[in-house]
Symmetry: none
Subunit: 214 residues, 2 copies
DNA sequence: ACCGAACTACTACTTTGGGAGTAGTTTACG
DNA sequence: CGTAAACTACTCCCAAAGTAGTAGTTCGGT
């Protein structure tokens, strides 16, 4: 069997964790960490530049978060396999990541040996999911069945940002300031988002949103 | 000045992170990692056995979580200083940790140099808090004020009926019809109820209500 | 090169929401 | 009996929300 080298790009805003992972992976002759990024923007740039076999992507980053980064990477036609590496075993995070095109989802408390094995398998084109998440995933499929109506995923990024602010009680004006766009533009998004979700007012949107996330 | 050695116990269920931190701290001559624990139970045992100067404690662990561990340590009369080391900048986590007797709260995305400095200062008896948390902390004090404020019980029967309808997304006009009173009257009640609850709009009222009942 | 989706921003208009004030009625309580 | 709280309803006024239509930009995909 030919021993190919797997190239890896680490994306995580925790310097210490990057250090730990890098140290671990450097011990493996067939795995090479060719880059590190501390945020989504850098990650996208580096990914295009280095075309790593695999991107190990943290979910919780400030600025552009993991999911946004993932989506951006996919939109930029980055061919690297992307494995999310997160502390969260929340089904929403897992499902969102996979829906957004992640090739795997590993928990940060994974044992080192298992992490290494998973990276190899991911580079070979397999999908890798931490064992602990099987139950979580199974349950989330059942959830999907009952929520047939339109949901958050039918919203665009902007609309999603805006409905979140609505669910915090912000006015259009304030939302505009937060997102640095005109109030009139916010109104357009609100109108569209209400129509998509079949709601009649921002109050209903706020309620819907709050109940959603519980 | 006498150069004392600071002894540290790492408590975190992520092997990789422990590895990263240990590697970092081992480079400092005045800091010595004398033990590692992957869970709360081990942490308590080791703390009693080793009496480290400082315990760097992760919040999110399976089994006994960070806060439980912290409380247990305090109950066991462990004199070591305890600094929470967490990814979470959620004000609840921060406040709970400090209330439970933590001597500091550092975010995991702290820069290595800053982490080392903070550890030294913590060992010197100072309280160390990540800069990013100042705002969070300040806000949480305001929250406290507001939670001392009135609740549902301070509302009259009418106001209670009306806020319930608001939390179902109804307009003043519709509420008026439901209760067979004029829209103008509904407005009066809404105005009064907003003032009592210290809210700024019906949207906030709806959110507050929905979160209340769950 | 063209198309469509998303995002932006405007004008113009209507409806809804919310503040402030006045005031009449009912009801419970000392 | 008097009074205070709750409920009712109005007016006036302005701010916020929401609808409709036009239109420019950017960006990814066919």
């Amino acid at each position: 069997m030919t021993q190919t080298t797997h190239t890896v790009l680490l994306v995580d805003d925790h310097p210490l964790l990057r250090k730990g992972v890098r140290q671990l992976l450097d011990l493996e002759i067939d795995i090479k960490v060719i880059g590190e990024a501390a945020n989504g923007k850098d990650a996208v740039v580096l990914a295009k530049e280095l075309t790593p076999d695999l991107i190990l992507l943290d979910l919780s980053m400030k600025g552009m978060d993991g999911i946004e980064t993932l989506v951006t990477l996919r939109e930029a036609n980055v061919k690297s396999r992307v494995v999310v590496f997160s502390v969260s075993d929340d089904s929403n995070d897992v499902v969102t990541a996979l829906k957004s095109g992640a090739d795997g989802y590993l928990l940060k408390d994974t044992e080192p040996e298992e992490l290494i094995e998973s990276i190899r398998r991911a580079c070979d084109g397999k999908m890798v999911i931490s064992d602990e998440l099987n139950e979580v995933l199974a349950l989330s499929f059942r959830e999907q069945q009952k929520s047939l109506g339109p949901d958050l995923n039918s919203l665009t990024r902007r609309e999603l940002q805006i409905i979140k602010y609505i669910a915090e009680g912000l006015s259009n004006k304030l939302i505009g300031r937060k997102l640095d766009i005109a109030e009139s533009t916010v109104k357009v998004h609100v109108k569209n988002l209400l129509k998509k979700l079949n709601l009649r007012s921002r109050v209903e949107a706020a309620i819907w949103m709050v109940e959603q996330k519980k």
